[in-house]
Amino acid sequence: MARVDVHSAKGSFRTPIVLASGPAGFGCDLARALDFRRIGALTTKTITHEPREGNPQPRIVDAPCGALNSIGLENPGVARFRSEVMPKIRALPTARIVSIAGRSADEVGKVAGALEGEPGVDWLELNLSCPNVRGETVADRPDAVSEYVRAVRAASSRPLLAKLSAGGGLVALADAALRAGADGLTLVNAVRGLRIDVETGKALLARATGGLCGPAILPIALAAVYEARRAFPEAFLVGTGGVVTARDAVEMLCAGANLVGVGFGVMADPAAVFGLAEGLERWLDARGVADVAEVVGAAHRGGWRVP
């Protein structure tokens, strides 16, 4: 069997398949029936300092080959996350990436600080790119990205991922995050989108715009990962966006991702997501590739197969 374990300077993962922040919640519902040993890491729903209710209903609607969501970071706040959620997920046989966000560098620093003593928080992911809250999409200004990352870095010793959006300016933002102390990047968050209820002429989502996820954005996420890998040959990258099959995951790895995040797929077919690592193993075996590392970034060196 091909090896699918992934090793970075800051930590190891049993498989390259990561549950992206959001659709899997805190993993508790899935853990009742699915085997987390097949998942490299669970990324939690994003946690803020205070509890949040998120946006009004409806907050998830259709899109061609995907969906649009505007959940708006509903979460119990970091205190209840520690007291109620961490005890449930600490024992899961996978790594835990805790996603955090805030309205200011100060707030994200506080959230990171509150998690510092917490056992079982293996990585932090700083969500700099949620399309569904006002005043927090800081990821389009490199100076703000630096400031937020530095605040988390100062408050936390955990390995840190900075989560960015696709789009113009990605390399400058990624550079800002890495220089400020991020250990890796998660690319991409959901892409800003809108749908209209034609029968009324109003936006379908209560909050008008939302984030587009699912297969529709696979090519966009691949381009973002490809661009980031080209600019940062050594960076640790989590490629997220539109992956639902093992073949999609291979594309993401070849574009340059070390780990592959899955969000929409968890809503569409959760068992299939837990089968991705096995699908990947079989795919590699069928082609005589001994280690998944051989395909990572292959598109930047003329392919993995030298004919």
Partner: protein
Amino acid sequence: MKDLSQQGTQTAHGGPSFLVREGEIVETRQGGGYARLRVVLAPPFAAPMPMPEPGQFFMVRLPWGPALPRALSPIAAGDGWIELFIKADGLLRGEMAAAPPGTRLALRGPYGTPFVRKANLERRYVLVGGGAGVAPILHFAAARPDLVASLALGFRTPGVRALLPGADVAVEEEDGTTAFGRLAETWQDGLGVIACGPLPLLAAVSRDARWSPAAYVSLEARLGCGFGACLGCTIPTPSGRKRVCVDGPLFACQEVPWLG
């Protein structure tokens, strides 16, 4: 697929299953803008499908339908088969209603809290169903006749009667009677109400102080996952935010004071 199927069915106590099973539409009847479909589970998945309890639902997809699965509650169910009752409208249901026999659906579930685990079992109920909302209502009525005082079912047009043999259906177009009217006629002190249907119907039920202290409504929301993880479907309640998919779909009217 074998391994996935084993993963998906490692559910304790018939709890939620994450396996996507294939079901084949073997018969479709249409009428009055609705369709009733008989779906048999295709092998190798016929055996392990947990039996859906009334009020529970499946997340359903067609290969060429929308990417997000849709919640549908069976109107009847047995060993290896379910019957669905759907509005013949919308991205998925429109395609399902028009699909020829032999068409295969992807089904995941059952999910949701069964009605009997939310409702007070020491009472009998007037069961109110409007439109596609009659599906879980009739499923419940057949499973728990001991809890049923009467049925109040309503539709706009009469064409749907052929799909609901034996059911006494109010048709607004014929004589102005509605599900709500039937409820008002038949309700008596001491009875509870369980209602499923369009939002205005549920609002009217929950607004009426005669029965609302003992009334339950089955809510709709646009679901993402269906199993409680994505928070696509949460609603405010006096005791905090609840998820329609796992904490519901049935809620006591006191839990949703904003509805009335």
